[in-house]
Symmetry: C2
Subunit: 388 residues, 2 copies
């Protein structure tokens, strides 16, 4: 019988049979607070912002908090705040909390805070739905039964917020180096928690800054979503990396890093361990890819020295973007290896970073073919010369 | 040798090897005029708008113009204008012009205005590049040679603007029924020109209204882009329709129309020939699909009576959206059958129409998995009760 539902009150996934992809329905997210009203962003003062120091009771309890030296990152949050000119000394520098309005329902409420309780269920769900939905094999398997155009399922996973500063700042570019390193440490720890400890199929860290990038709150923060299924696009990308490795006996992104460093027309900046460039087939103006130069499958495998380099580089790239496009919204995405790949060694992790200065119009929605009005070579040249 | 280019001055396509899709680089489009500045839209007065009556010399010469009775559409543009309360009587009601800042370079400049000259080249290009780029067959064919990460090609095609009124109106909802029918007649004629007469691989009509939907000018208009390659997403959709037909001995969208009409929870409105509903797995809030109830592969095959019904229905749906979301940006896309499909009879044409009230954020960019905060059942209920 076809599925009917008047109104959903929690997250569920629905399958789009035509596109063969899942969509997350999260009606509860319409309840979340927003700094943005129609027109330009309105900034909430400290007294209303749920992420500011002293308002901790307005978020769920922290699952992780960073304020003291960790491994190679040896300076304290106290000194960070002082270096940034903040008057008050915060009890924490970075705070990770479960999202109060999650896009992903934690089927086991304890999952977000307790590894033990949630693990079994998360893994069970993965086994049922862990296969990529992109191939028609999925449909062939059920060849005897009629196709269901109203297929749905629950979604097990987690949705966390990484609050990047106790102060009401708006961009990661306002943090000093030590604070930025703590933010990247939090990314690493939380991806480890969801992907390596709990074993979920997929986990992504992303950052929305500004209304046009999908942010609802101004206070600088990132998010992590972990799910028990692998999105089709991610499965497809992993398959392409595997295909490249099979045909070329080399890693796609190792090759790309080499080529970009050799050509030097799209490179924006590099460190000993990383290269940042505007990709040849950028869909969006001034899109930047950051790659580790040596082959590395998981962001979580970063050592502290590399992590410090990456934090430094990302901070500079955001400042370059902000110099080229003042007040531009931007996004930032960490693509680390999902779990349960057929050839896990072929995956090369990367970061995508891009300002949101164009809009996705009807042609792009209709064809998934993007029109980019800024050549990546021009974008890279402008970003290189931007003052940082 | 890897391709290097300092700065592009006309359109070219670049292949994203990872995603296996083409991106259109169109740097010349940064030159185009815009009504939109940072902040809320600024409306150009008649004296500056290139689409207003009396400013025809600011666009290339029209390739089609509609002002007199055509077939079943029996009233004149003159009476349309009068019925709409316009003071002046326009010489035309709808005007189609080549886009002055095309996203698609017409490799043969005469292609946009002359069918004869451009035809041979367009067809040649189609034969070279007409295959979908989604399968790895494309890569297997060149299995002996090294993979080129910097693959590019020119793009033959056309990019036209359908100016929908001589008056400086902002939405199709401001047109009367006769004028709306002329707009839909222009859509049909121009798709016939590019797809049926010239035989290009792909053609799409789309409409961007408002800054957030990707519009650069306020004056009500639509666009048509025709290309000599089929975008991968379109090829994939056609393959899925074929798969459904093979497995179910039925058309995917005929079945979907029947199911929606039976369930009646997501239907917004219908006419004898069409049904409009919020699809079960909508990626965006209040997304509407319009389907012909009987199986029809090509929008261009619409008879005049059906075309009038469709114009009436679309106009009402836009008004419903504008009632639910005043001043919202919206997009509108006509998905008609591309050419050269393996099983052309399986394709069922459709229209997608949706307000742009949410932003595409980092998670969606990273995973291609959308989070929709409005259940389609709730959206349909709200749209049904909206005053029109």
């Amino acid at each position: 019988m076809a599925y009917q539902r008047e109104e959903a009150t929690s997250s569920e996934m629905r399958h789009d049979w035509l596109a063969d992809r899942w969509v997350i329905m999260a009606p509860q997210r319409t309840q979340r607070p927003s700094d943005y009203v129609v027109g330009p962003p309105r900034e909430l003062g400290n007294e209303n912002c749920p992420f500011c120091e002293g308002r901790e009771e307005h978020t769920p309890p922290a699952v992780a908090s960073y304020s003291s030296p960790r491994a190679a990152i040896s300076r304290t949050a106290k000194s960070c705040a002082a270096a940034s000119g903040a008057v008050a000394t915060a009890a924490w520098s970075v705070r990770v909390v479960p999202n109060k309005f999650p896009a992903v329902s934690a089927a086991v409420p304890s999952l977000a805070v307790s590894a033990g309780g949630g693990l079994a269920l998360a893994v069970d769900s993965c086994q049922s739905f862990g296969l990529p939905q992109t191939s028609s094999a999925d449909d062939s398997a059920s060849a005897q039964s009629s196709i269901d155009l109203f297929r749905r399922r629950d979604l097990t996973g987690g949705h966390e917020v990484i609050v990047e500063s106790p102060h009401h700042w708006h961009s990661i570019s306002q943090l000093d180096h030590e604070a930025t390193c703590l933010v990247f440490t939090a990314y690493r720890d939380r991806l480890q928690h969801w992907l390596d400890d709990l074993g979920l199929a997929y986990g992504v860290v992303f950052k929305n800054v500004g209304l046009d990038a999908g942010a609802s709150l101004v206070h600088t923060h990132s998010q992590l979503i972990a799910t028990d299924i692998m999105p089709p696009d991610i499965a497809r990308a992993a398959e392409r990396m595997e295909l490249f490795a099979r045909k070329e006996s080399a890693c796609l992104f190792c090759r790309m890093a080499e080529d970009e460093l050799e050509q030097q027309v799209r490179v924006v900046e590099q460190t000993p361990a990383f290269v940042a460039f505007c990709p040849f087939a950028s869909r969006l103006p001034s899109q930047i890819t950051i790659l580790p130069k040596r082959h590395q499958t998981r962001f979580q495998a970063l050592g502290n020295a590399e992590l410090e380099q990456l934090a430094w580089l990302t901070h500079r790239l955001v400042r370059r973007i902000e110099h080229c496009y003042p007040d531009a919204a931007y996004n930032f995405i960490i693509h680390t290896s999902p779990n349960r790949l057929a050839s896990p060694d072929c995956f090369h992790w990367r970061i995508e970073l891009f300002p949101r200065i164009t809009k996705v119009a009807g042609f792009e929605w209709g064809s998934d073919c993007y029109i980019n009005p800024v050549a990546p070579e021009s974008a890279a040249a402008a970003l290189r010369t931007a003052g940082v």
